[in-house]
Symmetry: C2
Subunit: 325 residues, 2 copies
């Protein structure tokens, strides 16, 4: 790889001059500028970002920590982030945390050692000691935690929507699948759904489930033995919803006639189910791009209007809910 010295020699100038024309900083005579450009071209010179990063103490790297890229909710977000960042000339260093504090810490440390300029993270760190003496801009994604800028969607609206829709469609015995209570967003929508339901005379059951495929299976098996007559399910995410849907179908229940199911997230495969899953959509891709946009703003020291950006959520009506009565 050619270095700036090679270019300088080729163009017959000093490295300082080369640096100046490359960065468009300071003065440079038109003729020397041309000579430098020509040399750069000829030698296929690409500045070493590492050296740059060392001097400037900031790179063009952004750290991204997600619980698990294998969970279909996250790839959309990641793509949104990556697309935006790529256009702005930043690259992504990525790690899966599994919601594990130690891993988060580890990634953050190594990211910092690599001079990342910013961090996008999806975590539940409640006391967020991780962020306390954080020297770089960070934005929280899909989760909220205190003083940091965060982008997430309106969980209350989501929980409410799901409950109201099932109500409006005549469900009489609703089971709410509550996700892990440690995950604030998931817990909030649960709370919001119960609060809508408790003012009514429908029967309400609560069942816990993990967000994973495995956890969903366990819960789906459980729900119908515990509550065989439930006729409406509000799931904590689409995986759980899809699994329950499948289990219901396997038992010969008719969906949505006998039982209605509402998912959460609107992950892409939901449209492929039969019947296709009605669900609450979170605009994952847009949340990703927004998080990236905010991060870039912070990196550029621009003022933020709002610390928290909350996206509205919407009901995607498909085949697991009935026509409204």
């Amino acid at each position: 790889m050619a270095t700036i010295r090679d270019v300088a020699k080729e163009a017959g100038v000093s490295v300082a001059t080369v640096s100046r024309v490359i960065n468009g900083s300071g003065y440079a005579h038109e003729d020397t500028r041309k000579a430098v450009i020509a040399a750069v071209e000829k030698l296929q010179y690409k500045p070493n970002e590492v050296a740059r990063s060392l001097y400037k103490r900031k790179s063009k790297l952004v750290g991204l920590i997600l619980p698990d890229i294998t969970n279909p909710f996250f790839p959309e977000m990641a793509r949104g982030i990556e697309d935006y960042l790529q256009r702005e000339g930043y690259r992504l260093i990525f790690g899966n945390s599994d919601e594990n504090r130690k891993k988060e810490r580890e990634y953050l440390d190594t990211f910092l050692q690599n001079n990342v300029v910013g961090l996008i993270i999806s975590t539940n760190e409640q006391d967020h000691t991780i962020f306390d003496n954080l020297t770089i801009p960070a934005v929280l994604l899909d989760r909220t935690a205190g003083h940091l800028p965060a982008v997430y969607s309106d969980q209350q609206q989501g929980g409410r929507l799901a409950a109201e829709i099932l109500l409006a469609r005549g469900a009489k015995e609703i089971t709410i699948i509550r996700g892990p209570v440690e995950i604030k967003t998931v817990y909030e929508r649960y709370l919001s759904a119960v609060s809508v339901l408790e003012d009514t005379d429908v029967k309400v059951h609560i069942l816990d489930s993990a967000l994973s495929y495995q956890g969903a299976r366990k819960c789906a098996k459980e729900v119908f033995v515990k509550y065989p007559d439930t006729d409406g399910i509000i799931a904590c995410n689409d995986i759980v919803a899809a699994t329950i849907l499948q289990e219901a179908l396997a038992m010969g229940k008719r969906v949505p006639e006998d039982i209605q199911v509402i998912g959460y997230d609107n992950v892409s495969f939901t449209a492929l189910l039969h019947p296709a899953l009605s669900t609450i959509q979170q605009p994952a891709y847009e949340m990703g791009t927004k998080a990236a946009e905010i991060l870039i703003k912070k990196i550029n020291q621009e003022k933020l209007e709002e610390i928290h950006t909350v996206f509205p959520v919407s009901f995607i009506e498909r085949g697991t809910t009935r026509e409204v009565e």
Copy 2:
């Protein structure tokens, strides 16, 4: 952030000594070693990887280029890669290429500017000019291209398996959905499937489809108007299979009685469909870890037994194929 100089001062030694004890290289008296460790501890010193990388001309960063993390086949792989690399102390820089040569080039260039030590890439670059004067180890994933180490699964076996299974289960009029012919792996399994089928007296149709959700929809709409009597589908991937399955169900066809469907990949949501999708499994996660393992070996200059690692593929029997007759 504390620098090595701070540590040196704190411990009352020179930076060289600090460097030596940190890296366990060269001599260091037990007492000074302890003093240095204490200073490191006290100052929470973490070596700046950028400075290291600059001097050594290699970082602890590995580049990963995937077509689209949003395609559910890739997250599993990415996770496999990331898990392995993480354990080895490497971090991942990631980019989505959309199979676009220009984007691939762009990512590769910037990765190189950041002194990545290795590259894992999933691409169809046939003439692979990108790799011609590549100075770092690289391994191809899920795709093959010439002289580079590659890990992929046995496409011929996959295509054959799908065809044989449909044959054994009594399909009489099979439609093979051919994916993009530019994607070598996808094309190979297609070829393999037709070659099995052409020696038999079953009727065979060929239909093209993209690998995406959109493309799949288009194809699924098309297949039954073109071939209303087809009773067996060999799809190029699970998305296409799931979409066709849904379409068939919507038309009132019974699956697997009237029509059987076989997918490809065994992406996680396939188990959630109803009936659950029978499919050819590629061990995506293991392919990822293997690719990472090979890369690390190459980075460490270890000799590779084989350039190409091919994984066997297996049939996951679920509800969209009949009991064997």
